[in-house]
């Protein structure tokens, strides 16, 4: 291969936050017109590095060169001016705007103060078609599927003249079929000379799309490799620095004792059934997984089960008792545990000490309270016990929850729900955004609890986690449970086609 000038060169980048070294002397060279993957665990420092390259953060030391000349970005505007664009993991689109309005937002073409959308409309058509992804500029963003929204984000960046594209975990929100499509578009863009920096921790995908791969671990660059020379396993070991865990459960522990019985459960959001006629059972010792693209009714299902939302149809029974009308607290007190999807938004009191966070959800129960009084001593002891048993890295039970890393916050939440010995645990994305070590610990705890007779409802976007842990697997699509699958035989590909509706309902 002919050596071309580096499109981007990062040298000796170091960035520290209070108590954390996010980047420690990181070096990265991206050649013009290649797809360069940056891989690493969550928290390895990938995002920080990209935020530095995009001008959102300033490094403590080190230099950035674009096309051979050194640059100093103070804001993303400077980066955009140098032809760098970023597609964030969480889309930054106004859903009540059209594609066109979203694309021009912030750089509206105008004539004498009046916005001129005609030219922009043409340009969007051209741009999107040039890489094989037709976009209708006049469609409302809220009507678009996730994959299409991502295309809007990419066009938005190209519209601003980006020649270097940063994609932060672009496949995290996509199902396998959409990933294929994205990859086709990326190859097309590459052929047109666009340089792409691809952030991911999904190694199969990285091996498929990248021309070179840089591995980051604990804030340092480990190495840069050619994808032809490594296997996914070798790459993973470079990333983690040790051997890998898998989410598989061993022998079945499912009993015939029904813990949760859901019949015809429905939730109306406005005029639409966000959850429709959901019927399923969870037995003692069984893990029931729910697969689905986000926003297909998972949230409504969880909220109805937790009593956070009144169902508009159907019944919920816990161990034979109809609990449909019970308030959340009564459900909690009778053994329903909850690991919320958004741990900071729903699971924690960030400024409060850990012992007050351990109480959360169990504040009416021993040892956290006695009659109307909070039992601070009992709560602290329980928290100390939890810290040691669940390996929560913290100075002690009086540390505020906000001082903990995401993985440790999650360990605390999982620990507090597990140590309450629930009959039923509702776990939504229990390992999202935590590192491999913490993930393995959570999986192990789930397996142990299952063996001890826990009934678990697992909602996850991680298909391997779903297949590996579940005893029974349902697919949710547009509010309905459209398929019941056997996790022992199903592949992520098959699961993906059920999730998008490509494959119609069938039973395994």
């Amino acid at each position: 291969m002919v050596e071309r000038a580096a499109a981007v060169e990062l040298k000796g980048i170091t960035k520290t936050f209070p108590g954390v070294i996010a980047n420690d002397d990181v070096n990265l060279t991206v050649r013009r017109g290649e797809i360069h993957a940056v891989v690493g665990e969550n928290g390895a420092g990938k995002s920080t590095l990209m935020k530095i390259l995009y001008g959102m953060l300033r490094p403590d030391s080190g230099s950035i060169s674009v096309d051979g000349s050194e640059v100093h970005f103070r804001t993303p505007k400077d980066a955009i001016a140098s032809g760098i664009g970023m597609v964030h993991q969480h889309f930054m689109l106004a859903t009540n705007f059209t594609v066109l309005e979203n694309v021009v937002l912030g750089s509206e073409p105008s004539h004498a103060g009046v916005i001129d959308l005609g030219a922009a409309r043409e340009r969007i058509r051209e741009l999107s078609e040039s890489y094989g992804a037709a976009l209708d500029p006049d469609r409302l963003t809220e009507d678009l599927a996730v994959g299409e929204r991502q295309r809007v984000e990419i066009v938005k960046v190209l519209y601003r003249g980006a020649q270097i594209l940063i994609l932060d975990e672009p496949t995290a929100v996509l199902v396998p079929q959409e990933v294929e499509e994205l990859f086709r578009h990326l190859r097309e863009l590459k052929a047109q000379g666009v340089t792409i920096i691809f952030i991911s921790h999904k190694l199969d995908e990285v091996l498929e799309i990248a021309d070179s791969i840089t591995v980051i671990r604990a804030g340092r660059t480990v190495t840069t490799v050619d994808p032809a020379d490594v296997t996914a396993r070798q790459l993973a070991e470079l990333m983690v620095g040790s051997e890998l865990p898998t989410p598989e459960t061993r022998e079945s522990t499912v009993t015939d004792e029904v813990v949760l019985s859901v019949r015809g459960l429905g939730v109306l959001v406005g005029e639409r059934w966000a959850l429709k006629d959901a019927t399923f059972d969870i037995h003692k010792g069984e893990i029931v997984g729910i697969a689905g693209v986000e926003g297909n009714g998972q949230r409504e299902l969880v909220e109805a089960l937790m009593g956070l939302r009144k169902p508009d149809a159907g019944t919920i029974s816990l161990a034979g008792t109809d609990v449909t009308q019970w308030p959340t607290r009564q459900r909690r007190e009778n053994g329903i545990g909850y690991i919320p999807e958004d741990r900071q938004g729903r699971g924690l009191l960030l400024p409060s000490p850990l012992w007050e966070n351990t109480m959360l959800g169990h504040q009416t129960l021993y040892p956290f309270s006695r009659g109307p009084w909070v039992n601070k001593r009992g709560a602290r002891e329980q928290t100390e016990h939890l810290i040691s048993e669940y390996h929560v890295m913290t100075p002690g039970p009086d540390t505020p929850a906000l001082a903990l890393s995401g993985g440790n916050q999650q360990k605390l939440i999982v620990g507090r729900e597990m140590t309450a010995w629930p009959k039923l645990l509702i776990a939504a994305q229990p390992t999202r955004g935590i590192d491999v070590g913490a993930q393995a610990a959570v999986w192990e705890q789930i397996r142990e609890a299952r063996a001890a007779g826990l009934a678990l409802l697992l909602i996850s976007a991680d298909l391997e986690e779903l297949i590996g842990l579940s005893d029974t697997l349902y697919v949710i699509l547009r509010g309905s449970l459209v398929a019941k699958l056997d996790p022992a035989t199903v592949t992520p590909q098959e699961l993906g086609s059920y999730m998008t509706g490509a494959q119609e309902a069938a039973s395994a």
């Binding site: 954390v20 959340t328 607290r329 409060s352 009084w373 100075p395 540390t399």
Partner: protein, 369 residues
Amino acid sequence: MSGTKLRIALLWLLVPVSAIVLAFAVSSIALLAIGADPVAAFSSMASYGMKPSSLVSTINRAVPLFVAGLAVAIGFKMNLFNIGVEGQYRLATLFAAAAGAAVTLPAPLHIVFIMLVGMVTGAAWASIAAILKVKRGVHEVVSTIMLNSIATGLGAYLLSNHLRKPAVGSELLIATPPIPKSGWLPALAVIGGEELRSFLLIAVVLGIAVYMLIWRTRFGYDLRASGINPDAARASGVDPDRMVMRTMLISGGIAGLIGMSDLFGFFHAYTLDLPTGLGFEGIAVALVGLNHPVGVAIAALLFGWLDRASQILDLEGIPKEVITITKGVTILSVVIAYEVVKRLVQAQQIKAAAEATRELEVQEEAVAA
């Protein structure tokens, strides 16, 4: 760790110190702008304000402010903005005075009865806003502000048409009939000619009770959780509607006691001379006191002292309204300094946790090796 704790304690101390320094600096500029000498003004305030009689008066002024601050603070603790403390306490004082004059009871019971009528009235008036919020989604700021106006009008109507003492001769006083002596509280002490009112003791008990309620009970835990993260509180089993109802009732009940110190210790009837605006000042006191009973007490004393000490300024030919500026700047700077210091403290805590974690990891690795 102890080093970190000391640093955090010192950081917190910055809040009141910077607020007071800033408040006096800005007030000095205002004084200079109107051609007065700030040094002379503040030194005459200091010498007048430190006289024993002034200190007693300061406490007497601070007690209703403290109660008002508590009423507001308990709502603030769960992000419930009871702006209606003003209307609640004025109606409560009227009803309590009228009821107290209408019954004959032995001394301690009479006091308890009057306080109960006040609390029930305050809570009942507050419950209107609570029901509107829970049932119809009306924001409590809007409803309580409007209920304040209604309370003023309703109170004036009831006083002049139904609860007014029958006029004797040519007497023009608009007031409820006097409460019999059994419903008076004697002075705790008389210092420099000023009576120290004994409702102070009840207020102290009330402050302790509020502290216990917020920081030691399950209810208080749910209350604080709702304030810090309402979604997490709800997911943990807190019923937000019930929480709003209960907190509003408690806040209104405490508001019903704001006028009691003046009623028991001085006026012994509801008259038009009773101080007004205490409910609004309670909001300021709660803000400056950072919604903690100890802070509220300090803020109430500060405001009470500024009120008393500023009386001297008129004699010096300086408008005592300058002190309103001092109060305003204090509120603003406490709120700002609190936010700044909170971030600094959190950075310290994160740093300490990260260091401790690293040590733990090193230890674990050593054990594993």
